[in-house]
């Protein structure tokens, strides 16, 4: 009894500090009539590789944009590292550089080079004068080159972004996010359009960095197979609702938070996607 009293407060605080993202009954709407997200509850531990799976239009991209303050909910609360994501929130603005965000379309600047696109990730660290005249400190340039070779783009630093292949473009977007020295990485279906082999190369790249830097990676997927392969936690979103959340350990599903499905059923639900 005594022991329990001793341990419970400390373990409680440990649990709360671990939560890097918490969403509580979050609703969003594009117009007054319909909701894109309907009462989403999500809590993500620091260092998790979290996957959000759902079909097009299920609201999964919206979830990411809520986490980096690009959108605000119409109802409910969101905390990212104890701050409410909103570009008008000064405290959040100061930590935005800690959140790497790769939209589905990647958001590269097509007329800038690979190196310049990567260096954009270091802009929050750069002074006003230096950024006006594109004067990047030597150590940032070296860092960018190091990251580029890590993602397999060594030697392509001076290429313009529009000249790159789909897989290479994704690597640049990842490099830009890594350049931010992030603690959270948000990626929106960045491997959906790639072939099986390239998709796994990109996923491995993120998985490696995620373990090395203790990143919290939150990745939206179209493909359940891919999510089960890489994530430790998978949430399934359908028509704006979280219908299922599972923990994954190796090829085993370890816990269910919502829903009542078997592994077989989960894969069957997404068999159409996996065959693609």
């Amino acid at each position: 009894m005594k022991q329990l009293q001793m341990t419970s407060p400390s373990s409680f605080s440990q649990i709360t500090t671990q939560k890097i993202i918490q969403m509580n009954d979050v609703w969003t709407s594009y117009d007054s009539k319909s909701y894109a997200l309907k009462g989403i509850n999500i809590s993500i531990d620091r260092g998790t590789n979290y996957a959000i799976v759902g079909q097009s239009g299920s609201g999964k991209s919206t979830l990411l944009k809520l986490m980096n303050g690009m959108m605000t909910p119409s109802k409910g609360t969101i905390k990212v590292d104890y701050q409410t994501p909103n570009v008008n929130n000064k405290k959040f603005k100061l930590m935005m550089h800690k959140i790497g965000y790769i939209p589905q379309s990647l958001g590269l600047i097509k007329n800038l080079t690979v190196l310049e696109n990567t260096l954009i990730g270091s802009l929050p660290r750069l002074g006003k004068f230096q950024s006006m005249f594109k004067i990047f400190p030597e150590e940032e340039i070296q860092e960018a080159k190091k990251i580029l070779s890590q993602v397999g783009l060594g030697g392509k630093e001076e290429r313009k972004a529009y000249m790159l292949s789909g897989g290479e473009k994704r690597r640049v977007a990842i490099a830009r996010a890594f350049m931010q020295k992030p603690t959270i990485l948000l990626a929106d279906e960045i491997v959906s359009e790639l072939d099986h082999h390239t998709a796994r190369e990109i996923m491995n790249l993120i998985a490696d960095a995620q373990k090395r830097l203790n990143l919290t990676a939150i990745m939206v997927h179209h493909d359940m197979q891919l999510a089960l392969e890489y994530a430790n936690r998978v949430a399934v979103i359908k028509e704006g609702e979280k219908i299922l959340e599972i923990g994954v350990e190796g090829d085993k599903i370890v816990d269910f938070q919502t829903g009542d499905f078997t592994t077989q059923e989960i894969m069957e639900m997404y068999s159409d996607e996996s065959k693609k």
Binding site: M70, G107, I109, I120, P124, S131, M132, K160
Partner: protein
Amino acid sequence: MNQRNNLVIGIIIALVVAASYNVDANPIDFFEGLPNLAIVAEEMTQVDAELFGTAFLSMFETIQMAFIGTIVGVAISLPLSMFAARNLNSKFVYAPVRAILAAVRTFPSILWAILFVIMVGLGPFAGVLAIIMYTVGFVAKLQYETIETIDADPMDAVSSIGVSKWQLIRYVVIPESAPHLLSQMLYMFDYNVRQTSILGLVGAGGIGFYIINYIKFFEYGKAAVFMIVVLVTVLIIDWISLKIRDKYIVKSQHGMEVTAK
């Protein structure tokens, strides 16, 4: 459906006829006047070749005026367009800037030229100022419209990093709109050369001064020399800007098929 279309076409034709009546636009006058044109055309064939030297010199002056006007005009319109873009500013910033630009655009360049002739006197400088004003009004509008159509994804992706607005402009807005700006500059230069050619009508320098004076004194053969020079120059500029466009703009717009050497 078809009947309604016919009705609309009928109404448009009726409006054209009514408006023509109001402005005395009579096709018969046009055909009766054709012989007059033939007289002018015949006189124009008697080209005074001795004037080609003067014509080239004044054309050179015109090109220089258009060049200064375009470059300075674009340089002024660039920051203005940043303030006029709706996706970068609040209403309180873009609305007044847009109103000013709209006011600037209301005046055709020839009216600006008259105004500046009064201000700085006869000569090319008044023409240059007129071209600058005209360029600012137009390029700023074209440019803010371009900025507003920039893909929202790079803007979102980069602003989500937490960069300042000036960094966003420097690293997203300018590079993303640069090919359009180049294209607009070429278009504007091309247009300004033609415009500057007539600014001479109000004494604001350039080749137009000669054209209007020779026409006034019915020396169509001499005027023709200058008109030929304008024609050739405009064709050459057209050709050059086409080449530049092909090289720098088309490539980056449809860059997907371009592979590195």
